[in-house]
Symmetry: C2
Subunit: 274 residues, 2 copies
C-alpha cells in the first residue's frame, strides 16, 4: 500500500497560524510580487498567491512590469521595493525576460525581505547554517517530510534536480538534518541506480513522469516537486505511477504546491515582525 502525503492539511495549518498573526498585528504584512512575463501559468500562480494572501489577511502587491521589461528595470524595481518600509516580503516571479537571470537580479532583494530565498546571499547563509529564508518550495519539502513523520538523520536522500531555487538549497536543508544527500541531474549517468539507493527521493527536475517504479527501492518515500502544465490545462508532477513500490508519495496537485504558497505567506508574516 502506497501512502499519500497530502499537503492540504499542513498548508491549512500554516495559513491558519499566519492568519492569527495577521489578526494580532499592528501593521498588515505585505508581500510584493514583481512580474516581468506574460506566461500564463505564471499568471495563474501569482493569482493564487494573491488569493491566498487575501484570505489569510496579508496585503499582496503585484507589480507587473510586462514581458518587455529590461533586466535593469526589474532590478531597479526590486531595489525600490526593498527600500519601501511598507513592503515586508518581496519576490520576483519567473520566467524572466530573455538575458535576465534570477540569481543576479535577486541580489537587489534585501535579504530580510527575501521570503522566497532567491538572493544568493540567502542561499549562502542557509548553506552556512546562518539565519535566512529558504526558498519556499525547498522548505515545503522539509515541512512535508516532518509533517508526515519521515525520519531524516542517517537516511539517504536523493534530490533529482540542481536548480538554485529547489535542488541546491534543499540539499543544504537535508544535510543540516543529518541526511546523507545525493544530488542527481540531467547529466547523471544512471539515474535509476542513484535513486534506488535512497530512502527518500525528491523529484525536482521539471520533467513529467521522470521517476517511475523502476527508479525506487521498495518502500521509498517520494516527494514530487514537479508542476508541469499539461495540454488540457492540468498539472502533473515529475513522478509517474509508483503505487505498489513507493512507501508513500506526495500528490500533484495537492502536495508540495499548497505548502509552498502557505510558507511564502508565513515568511512574509515573519519578516513583518523583524
Amino acid at each position: 500500500m502506497t501512502g499519500v502525503l497530502s499537503g492540504k492539511d499542513l498548508a491549512a495549518a500554516i495559513r491558519a497560524e499566519a492568519k492569527r498573526a495577521c489578526e494580532g498585528a499592528l501593521v498588515t504584512p505585505r508581500l510584493a510580487v514583481v512580474v516581468a512575463t506574460d506566461d500564463e501559468s505564471s499568471a495563474w500562480y501569482v493569482r493564487s498567491i494573491a488569493a491566498a494572501a487575501a484570505r489569510t489577511g496579508l496585503d499582496c502587491q503585484v507589480v507587473d512590469l510586462g514581458a518587455g521589461a529590461s533586466p535593469e528595470e526589474v532590478e531597479a524595481t526590486l531595489a525600490g521595493l526593498s527600500a519601501e518600509e511598507s513592503v515586508h516580503g518581496l519576490m520576483l516571479q519567473t520566467p524572466l525576460p530573455k538575458g535576465a537571470r534570477l540569481e543576479e537580479l535577486a541580489r537587489a532583494i534585501d535579504p530580510v525581505k527575501d521570503v522566497d530565498g532567491a538572493n544568493p546571499l540567502s542561499l549562502g547563509l542557509l548553506a552556512a547554517g546562518l539565519p535566512a529564508f529558504a526558498p519556499a518550495t525547498a522548505e515545503a519539502v522539509m515541512a512535508l517530510l516532518d509533517h508526515h513523520g519521515v525520519e531524516l538523520p542517517g537516511k539517504t536522500v536523493t534530490v533529482v534536480g540542481r536548480s538554485n531555487v529547489v535542488g541546491k538549497p534543499l540539499a543544504h536543508l537535508l544535510l543540516a538534518r543529518d541526511a546523507t544527500v545525493t544530488v542527481a541531474h540531467s547529466r547523471t549517468a544512471d539515474l535509476a541506480a542513484v535513486t534506488r539507493t535512497a530512502d527518500v527521493v525528491v523529484a525536482a527536475a521539471g520533467r513529467p513522469g521522470l521517476i517511475t517504479a523502476a527508479h525506487l527501492r521498495p518502500g521509498a518515500v517520494v516527494i514530487d516537486v514537479g508542476t508541469n502544465a499539461t495540454e488540457d490545462g492540468g498539472l502533473v508532477g515529475d513522478v509517474a505511477d509508483v503505487s505498489g513500490v513507493a512507501g508513500a508519495v506526495t500528490p500533484v496537485p495537492g502536495g508540495v504546491g499548497p505548502v509552498t504558497t502557505a510558507l511564502l505567506l508565513a515568511h512574509t508574516v515573519e519578516a513583518s515582525r523583524a
Copy 2:
C-alpha cells in the same frame, strides 16, 4: 597499481604564473591573514603561506590578535582590512576564539577580497553559479582532478565531510561540472556503502585513516583533504593505505596542501587586478 596524484608540480605551476603576474604588476599584491589563536599547527600554516608569498613576490601581512581576541575585535579588524586599499586578499585563520564562528565573522570580509571564500555571500554566489572565490582547499581538489585528467561529467563523486569551507563548496563545484554528488558525514549510516558507489571519493572529514580499502570500488580515485597532525609533528590524511584497490590517490603531505596555498596566492593576484 595505485597511482599517486601529486600536487607539487601543479602547485609550482600555479605559483610560477602568480610570480610572473607579480613581476609585471604596478602594485604588489598583498594578502592579509588575520590570526586569533596560539594553535601551533595554525602558526605553522600561516608561516608557510607567508614564505610562499615572499618567494612568489606578494606581500603577506599577518595580523596576530592573539588567542584572547574577542569576536568583535576580529570582526572590526576584518572590516578595517576590507576597507584598506593596499590589501587585495584577506583571510581569517582558524581555529577561532571560543564562541566565534568563521561564517559569521567572515561576513566582514569584502567579497572581492575574500580569497579563501569564507564569507557566506561567496558561498552563495558560488552555489548560484555567479563569480566568486571558492575556498582555496575546495578549488585545489578540482584543480588536482583536472591536472591529472580525471573526467567528471556523469561520474559519481562522494564527498566525505560537510564543512562550510570544504565539503559544501566542493559539492557545488562538482555539480557545476556535471558530476553526480553525494555528501556523506559523521551521521551517515553506512559510509562504506556510500563511498563504494563512487568513481571519485574526496575525504574531508578530519579523521585520520577514516577511508580504507574497504570503502572503495576498485579503481576509484581518492582525494585526501585531511591534514591531521601526528604526535611526532608529522601530518597524516583521512585516507589509510588504499594501494592495490584505489586507482589513484593524493599523498599527504604533497597533495591538496601545496595546491591550496598556491591558489590562495593566485586568488590574491587576481583580486589585485580587479
